[in-house]
Symmetry: C2
Subunit: 145 residues, 2 copies
Amino acid sequence: MIPGEFIEHLKRVGVRLTPQRQEILQVLWERAQAGGQPVNAEEVMKCVRSRYPGISLDTVYRTLATFTRKGIVNELQFKDQSRRYELVIQGEHHHHLVCLGCGYVREIAYCPVDIIERVKECYSDFKIEDHSFTIYGYCAQCRED
Amino acid sequence: MIPGEFIEHLKRVGVRLTPQRQEILQVLWERAQAGGQPVNAEEVMKCVRSRYPGISLDTVYRTLATFTRKGIVNELQFKDQSRRYELVIQGEHHHHLVCLGCGYVREIAYCPVDIIERVKECYSDFKIEDHSFTIYGYCAQCRED
DNA sequence: TCCTAGTTAAGAATTATTCCTATTTCTTTG
DNA sequence: CAAAGAAATAGGAATAATTCTTAACTAGGA
Ligand SMILES: [Mn+2]
Ligand SMILES: [Mn+2]
Ligand SMILES: [Zn+2]
Ligand SMILES: [Zn+2]
C-alpha cells in the first residue's frame, strides 16, 4: 500500500488526487519497493492499465511531469534520450551508476555537495537550483574485460 | 584554422578524413574559440552548409556520433531531450552550469574525482568508464529573485 | 590506377513526447 | 445536496529529434 505520506504530500502541494494519479503513485511505490530500478512512462502505463484499463499515455506523461515539478518523483535523463522516473523518498538524496550495456541502474549515496557549495560561491551570479551526477560503466554481466 | 592536432587525431584513431568531416570539425573549432557554447546538430549543419551546401543532417549526426566515440567531441544531454556538442580540448576536463531559463552553458573546472574514486572502490563490480556532473540554475538575466 | 570498405545524400521511418479539444470529474460553495 | 468553475482526462493528431535504408560515391591503401 502507498503510505499516506504521499497522498498527504499531494494535497499539501495542491495537486488533485484523481484515481489515475493514485494508480501511478502506486506503481512508482511498488517499483521503489522492488529494488529501485526507475521506470519509463510506457512501463508505468502498462502497469497501471492492468488495474485501470482506460488510462492514456498522455496522462501518464502529464502526471509524471506534475509529480516531478512537485518534488514527488525524480526524472532521470538517459543517454539514449529516454527518461525514467523514481519516487522521491523523503529525506533521501542519491545519484546513480548506470550500466552502458544493459541500462541497469544502481544507486550511490555519495553526492558532490562540497563542489556544489564551492560553485555557489564562485558563480554567485547563477542561482543554483539542482544538480545531476551520474557515473557510467559496465555491470558484472556486461563487462567484457 | 583547425590545429593539425585534430586532423592527426582522426588519422591516428582510423577515421577517414572526408571534406564533410573537416568542415564539421572547423565549425566545432570556431565555436570553441568563440566562447565554448556547445552546439546542436541543426546549428552545425547550418554553419557547415554556408561553405559546403550539400551536406545532409544525417551526416552531421553520424559524424558527431563518430567524433564522440573517438573522444574528439563531448556530447551533452540536456533536460529538454536535446543534445549539444563541444570539441574536446586535449588535457582538459570540465563540467557545466546550465541555465534553466535560457539554456546558457557555463563551464566549471571542478570535478568530483574523489567521489568517483570512492565509487570505484565500493562498486568494484562495475567497470567505470565515464561520468557526468551538471549543475542547474538561473543565470543573472533569467533569475527573478 | 584500381579496389574496396567506409561514407554519403535523400528521404522515409521511428520514437518519445507534447499538443489539441471536447468531455469528464474533482472540489468548493451556495 | 446541487451547481459551477477549474483542473484533469482520453484519444488522436502533431512535433521534433534522431535513426534507418539504399544506392551512389570516394578516401586511402595496394
Ligand atoms: Mn534512484
Ligand atoms: Mn564545455
Ligand atoms: Zn547530489
Ligand atoms: Zn569530471
